[in-house]
Symmetry: D2
Subunit: 340 residues, 4 copies
């Protein structure tokens, strides 16, 4: 099969490699769409050490089951699916609580030792397979994994009917937070965005769009919330300044979801006195294995518009071009998908 092999910093090669075999409790998927994740861009650029070359990356996967391993129902062959790429042990203290995302012995398809989805075929754990309804195309399915964390954190912490939500960031995550919050009962949603993405935020349902660069964001949020601050403040921009804003812009007793990771800083200073006196609630947000089915249903019904986030498509042969487009956000790129 053809596979994109990351061979060194900023270098990939399309190689012919053997089709893998599914083992116990695994399935083989013929990949039909693979989302290009910015984490992988960082890895390929040598910024992160999650993987070392050579490796087949890719953890946003939609396709068709073509073979089942031992212990898996063979009737699944032919099913359209998306794949939760988390690998978990099933027996540690976290797995026993159903918190597979924290598995002590876990990993992820797409990172060593598991080859990923930038290839014609990929092996994934059967437990992570979710049926992709006919109404959802493979390219849409391919990027569902990229919004699992935003959707998962709202699934976990809930959206209170009518509450005011302030979202920073208008990339895939920010636009997903916007749509999922709206679909789950948020009242006024205020998005701080910049450039062409402001229009996208408006198009996807933002009630108020603040220009992150030219406006006094804090003042605007307070003005739009009668001076109280937002009920729920979501940080999906991944910058020190926006983390600080996220905390300042929430009302007393309100909730802050931190999702964006600053690229250079491991630590960020927080106004601890303010957090204590105003009894803020701050939640780190990452993956959630239980949100796949609910999210797929919202996508199927068109209430979360995933298609609008897919701005570019590239066949596997033009993988390098996809990387360039995504890295430079060329032509208003939000999300690039590798198609097969």
């Amino acid at each position: 099969m053809k596979a994109v092999v990351w061979t060194g910093i900023n270098t990939v090669e399309i190689q012919e490699v053997p089709i893998p075999k599914p083992g116990q409790q695994q399935v083989l998927i013929q990949v039909k769409g693979a989302g290009l994740c910015s984490t992988d861009l960082h890895i390929m650029a040598g910024h992160l050490e999650l993987a070392k070359p050579p490796h087949i990356l890719g953890h946003e996967i939609a396709g068709i089951i073509v073979e089942t391993g031992a212990g898996v129902d063979p009737a699944l062959v032919g099913q359209r699916v998306v794949a939760d790429t988390i690998v978990s042990c099933g027996t540690c203290e976290f797995c026993r609580r159903g918190q597979y995302e924290f598995c002590l012995h876990g990993g992820e398809v797409g990172y060593p030792p598991y080859n990923g989805g930038y290839a014609e075929y990929v092996v994934v754990p059967a437990v992570g397979i979710h049926r992709l309804p006919e109404e959802i195309s493979f390219e849409e399915g391919a990027i569902i994994e990229s919004i699992i964390c935003p959707a998962g954190s709202l699934f976990k912490h809930g959206v209170v009917m009518g509450e005011t939500v302030f979202i920073q960031g208008s990339g895939v995550a920010g636009l997903a937070y916007l749509q999922v919050a709206k679909a789950c009962g948020a009242g006024k949603v205020i998005v701080s965005a910049s450039g062409v993405r402001k229009a996208k935020a408006r198009e996807l349902g933002a009630d108020v769009v603040i220009d992150a660069r030219s406006e006094d964001v804090y003042a605007r949020v307070l003005e739009e919330t009668k001076g109280y601050g937002a009920d729920l403040s979501i940080e999906a921009a991944g910058a020190v300044a926006s983390i600080d804003l996220a905390v300042r812009c929430v009302r007393s007793g309100g909730r802050v979801i931190l999702y964006g990771i600053p690229s250079k800083e491991d630590r960020v200073s927080f106004p601890v006195l303010d957090m204590i006196v105003r009894q803020l609630q701050i939640f780190g947000a990452c993956s959630n294995p239980f949100v796949w089915e609910p999210l797929i249903e919202l996508v199927r019904q068109g209430r979360v518009n995933v298609a609008s986030l897919v701005t570019h498509r590239f066949p596997i042969e033009r993988f390098q071009e996809a990387v360039t487009t995504a890295s430079l956000r060329k032509d208003g790129a939000i999300k690039c998908v590798i198609t097969f």
Copy 2:
């Protein structure tokens, strides 16, 4: 002022009575719209003893504040408002917990000793006033009170992202449950309705509509839920048989909301062994003073369509005609509003 005075069984008179004065912590509202509540129909017909004639009924009220009592900001005069008609003492154990709806010494505007909104003016507690945004008409505002209980129970118990909801009843309450559940993240919503209201349920977003009279409702719900039952089962039809169905159609561990009150039975038999073994959660649903603002916002944004529920309008002079229309559900009547 003109007022509809209920003078005896099935008898009302339009009388000229003095405009009331707002007292301490009260406001005087010029009524612009008053929803006709089926509870009042029952009272006027002599089926319920909540009030004795003569009395001015009416507790679904939208209008304009024209005078403020002591302790109320006079700047409120001129404001468009809807009124939470609950009267509470503020000091009992329930009021101290913020559960005003259970106040031991409470009452309701529209029931003795408080005159209601089937009149040109009405006095209500200032604490229950909520601003009615310009985007919402008075006739829409007038019936918001009638969906506070459905919305309030979903506010209280939450809607889980993507969950399957089964609703029985397609009157105002059922159609409100449908819309609010959808607006708050429900996945597939299955409505059991009958007659012309099936189309209404479809129009307002039901994914599946079951004919309550001709179909095997239980079988259909199980079929639509892969045999598991609904995650959330809502009873808004108010019949012994539908209460039973509500419990049977919910999945193990699922939630049942009981809202509809059977007209003749105070007690209904429940399958207690099934409730225990399947660990069902059953919630009685009634008013909720905290859901007004969230609901008004959803209505303002058009995500809960209240206008579609108002099928008939009558000036106060034709009040008796409104009663007849509502009682007999003439011309597909869902909700009648008295306009001024």
Copy 3:
């Protein structure tokens, strides 16, 4: 090995049968203590059809792992354990949600087709094994399963700090509810009991003990709650009258846990109007696989006194005598344990 084989109505035989072999993901336990469950008494008396003779019953098990099946860490041999006897498929919709107690294809060790713990050895699923700390004896461990449901329902629905709890029933379940509620922050706990168990309830921490036979229970509960009713009302007596009392004695907006199953009625009538207007919350309570570890810790620390519930011990040879003692509640019997 010696095993108690139930051979017909009210008949058991001590037979010599082969020691079973643990299969995939199973372990073999040398039984050191087996609690005598009243459900089994009902089965042996021919009142329930959960099992047909001949069968080895028994699902309250403490012992030592003596052999491990495939896929289980052999280092577990020698470990003192208690066993969650639930058997689940791991792949149905419920198992995927972590709700193993509702598994569509599940069963229970002690009921066909699985032999139980009234024997010198028993095979159980490895996933249900929980380490029994040295501080807890085998006879205490043996009856932990019998209070998993009460503890599990409080684990699931929480105990609010300081809340007033009303408990009906003073058998093993009622006395467990009492202790666990106290250990988890309940304020005043009111127990309705009868006979010698009133003293037991007092000894185990009840703040108020009402004589279920001679007193006006409803009046007493209201008197003890300033007329509001209990915050949480727990029914562990299993009678139609006490279910009715449970609902009447809870405050508006309060919670009712139903655990006791009436012996003859499948259906019980509920005051549905009252449930709706007072917005009651009613929860069926049964098993909970996640409460084992928390409960074991409370028992280990002596905050839930399990030893005080074990009133009688019988070697396996005197099994019939145990049955008689438990059935007739001879000598103040609360819980009988078969020892080895």
Copy 4:
């Protein structure tokens, strides 16, 4: 009446001042016990600007109602009470939600413009009065306010049955967290303390006491939690290093309560990448008006031992000596109470 008037940095005078009059919705309390709060020590030392001299400080108050203002039931005269000193407007967005602790126009008795409880009489809002049962002495009652925040945060966020709790700090707050957590169902409680307070922590129920100065606290917590970290991590020491430890010592997905305020830093750096990847939940903790009644009940039953925290008593005439004792923690001082 005699009152302690703070007249300047580190200077107080016992002055004779007029007894105040209770106004609308207020009561006059004859003070019987007043806890000495460390916040007041900081104010008197000139470290905080919450108040300017001259002022009568003191917000931990127990006493007897001797006069009622307008709108308050005169029958309250003679009642033993403790006082929630929060003053709230009742009409702002927060007050309407029942979040009086965040009132935009609120204040606190003991801080300008309200005189406090270091005096023979004090006026407080009637709404904050809670009956002090006979079983609780005035000196115990006097310091209940000082543990409202710890108890309130556990009331708000719950204690999960059997969970492992790690507490830093062994002052009044830390020892209150320890006791309330235990009383509400915590499993293993690990306290990091120092000096003589280690014994106090053990005496009050800590399962593990770590010496904060000589041991590797992080390593010990992980060792005591099988390498997973605590389920709930509580910071009541108020230091930058302990805030950092609080976050590091909690398990993935776990909860951190921040209560202690570092004396010099307004901002503290947090490991934001870790918070996100491990999906930590961080809660600022401060007052909670709804926990008074539940806490009083736990104290009344002796399950939270408040008496053990009162180490010193001083008549009002020796107020300065109380200040010195508390400031220097002389003679193992934990809490000093002014008696009358």
